[in-house]
Symmetry: C2
Subunit: 386 residues, 2 copies
């Protein structure tokens, strides 16, 4: 199925890499033991589980015991943000899961610039005496813009020290949702300076419903799912052995391919964008021109109905997204596009193409040609000037 279509929605879902699947396979029916059981076969499964966590942690410069395995980025985000009380801060361009948790607590939602970014100064100004948590994505899930996380982290650290020196012992931490960035951005938690980091296997050719939350040692968070006390009491339930082993393998492969894929996909994406904007002078690219994920292309054709475009392209075997999958799910206009100030008719004419390992020169050429034909056809049909 994948081979007969041109798939440009790698930000929504990635196929599980065959090596990842091979690594997971023995843990379904053969090494199926409960890692908490006492006999050698189960102890061996626990050892392999812990080794996988260690390998996964190494790819971000951390250790296995600093990771809490979860059922995906949404759970990690809920655990991270919900693990704190007090005032919280995030940006208007965040994923729904971040916004919903912070809104529930009545936090501050910072406006973003036209690329969907905030500055460290903006965050600084929003921090109150009772602020406990700031949450900023590494890269935006719709337009790919990369946030200045390192600068924000340095500012938060300074603020925390300053607050402590005044005797205010309220915790102040920075959570970073790296779901979209992990595949193509080399993350080292020490250098990045964050306190909590959300990772997602499903976006890096690993299994769905597998995620992790990295927690800087010394940070105390309240668990969201309690019971048997697994994951150091922070997330109970029998461990996802197969999923974690698959995630570690996916992260290893991603690290191997990162530099090459970033260069390769960036060049393909640039060609795609150049060709489309040359042909359509009214087309608008969103996302930061340079500080953006190499595989993201978000393009708007003002006056064109993107939902129809997606449908026409699908008939032509080119699969692209309108906004994000989650926004599509709820049937509402993307909050990210509103936040970056796109007019409604521009936002409604937006498609997102995200490239991945299966993307080639030929698939980009085919997609470009078919997008041009589809946009021209729709413009003719509706009388829109391009």
């Amino acid at each position: 199925m994948v081979s007969s279509v041109y798939y440009f929605d790698y930000a929504a879902a990635t196929p599980v890499d065959e090596r990842v699947f091979a690594a997971m396979k023995p843990y379904f029916s053969e090494h199926f033991y409960n890692p908490s059981s006492p006999y050698a076969q189960a102890v061996e499964v626990r050892r392999e589980y812990e080794t996988a966590k260690q390998m996964l942690a190494h790819t971000i410069g951390a250790t296995g015991d600093e990771l809490v395995m979860t059922a995906g980025a949404t759970e990690s985000i809920n655990l991270a943000i919900g693990g704190f009380s007090g005032h919280k801060i995030t940006t208007a361009a965040e994923h729904a899961s971040v916004l919903r948790v912070i809104e529930a607590d009545g936090g501050t939602i910072l406006p973003v610039n036209k690329h969907g970014q905030v500055t460290a100064g903006q965050v600084d100004s929003a921090i109150q005496e009772d602020t406990e948590l700031v949450s900023v994505a590494l890269a935006n899930h719709e337009i790919g813009s990369i946030q200045p996380v390192r600068e924000i982290a340095a500012m938060v650290a300074t603020k925390r020290a300053e607050r402590l020196s005044r005797g205010n012992r309220t915790p102040l931490v920075l959570h970073c949702d790296a779901s979209q960035g992990f595949g193509l951005i080399d993350i080292h938690v020490g250098r990045l300076g964050v306190d909590l980091l959300t990772l997602n296997a499903a976006k890096i050719y690993g299994p769905k419903q597998v995620g992790a939350l990295w927690i800087r040692p010394g940070i105390i968070i309240t668990p969201r799912i309690v019971g048997g006390g697994q994951e150091a009491g922070l997330r109970s339930g029998t461990e996802n052995v197969a999923g974690t082993i698959g995630f570690a393998e996916a992260a290893r492969i991603a690290a191997d391919k990162r530099a090459g894929e970033t260069k390769r996909l960036g060049a393909l994406r640039d060609t795609l964008e150049r060709t489309l904007t040359s042909r359509f002078s009214t087309a608008i690219l969103s996302g930061h021109p340079r500080h953006r994920l190499a595989n993201f292309c978000h393009i708007s054709f003002p006056g064109i109905d993107a939902e129809r475009l997606v449908f026409i392209l699908e008939m032509d075997n080119v699969l692209v997204a309108t906004g994000s999958a989650c926004a599509a799910n709820s049937g509402t206009r993307s909050s990210v596009l509103t936040a970056i100030g796109l007019a409604d008719d521009v936002a409604d004419g937006s498609i997102r193409l995200t490239l991945g390992r299966g993307t080639t020169d030929a698939s980009v050429a085919a997609a470009t040609e078919r997008i041009i034909a589809a946009v021209e056809r729709e413009a003719t049909r509706t009388g829109v000037q391009l």
Copy 2:
């Protein structure tokens, strides 16, 4: 590995059935699309996901839209119980995940009889004007006793109606953790009369980290994981398509095999217990003699160190549990055995054998012989009279 050992710990973990694995396999790398994406391939994945939920729901006499898919029984339990505020009631023999959530809210923990059971009358007496939830397992995870859930459900319904007639509109619901019972007990939510039911794929030869919570229509619960709004807003995060399809297939197979396996395993278990108690007159069986899961054998050898026994049996290729996996994890004495009033030296001499699809006459004979030899050896070594 499984074929060379005699596995008697099916309550801790079950191998994934090969048909279940075959059903899941296409959804990792081939039909990997995000069910929320708009194109036909993804819509098809969503349809298959919804069909799987429908099939799973049918096995308990429900419909697919009444199920919330989760990452396992622990999450289902946290969602069910944590979804209510007010006073809560459970029993001292429940799984750690039920106890931890209810204890956190300062609820009532009812004592159990020597078989680990409560009566509807006991629950009735504990219900206060502000009680919102009662949680009782279908079958105990350590000794297999079946609770009188139907009687408790009828009482709760009467109480609710009576309370409502007096103008008290506080919700009152019954949650049932059916993790252990689902494989061998035919569950029909309508006939059972519960309001919330926790199911677990990992105990019925399905994948780990896959669970469901059935919610009776009309019951409003607060979600624990928010974000993209999947599962009708009750559990956000990209759906576990492969896991859910695997769970549905596992439930279908379990339904097919239920009657036959209950009879077959019950006979094997009875032979095992008869042989062991004939040989050791001081041995004590726990769990209700009749109202008990057919595959559970919980036996205590007073004065014998069960941890050593498990180790010796493991050397002899017989895998059994001491207490439950979760209790073993935390290294403390099982709270179930304390709740049913077993003296410490009896509790510490307890092993749990749980039978399953791989159990045969030959494996029971081999296990029996090796358990007798191990107990005799330990008794001789320590001078314990049997």
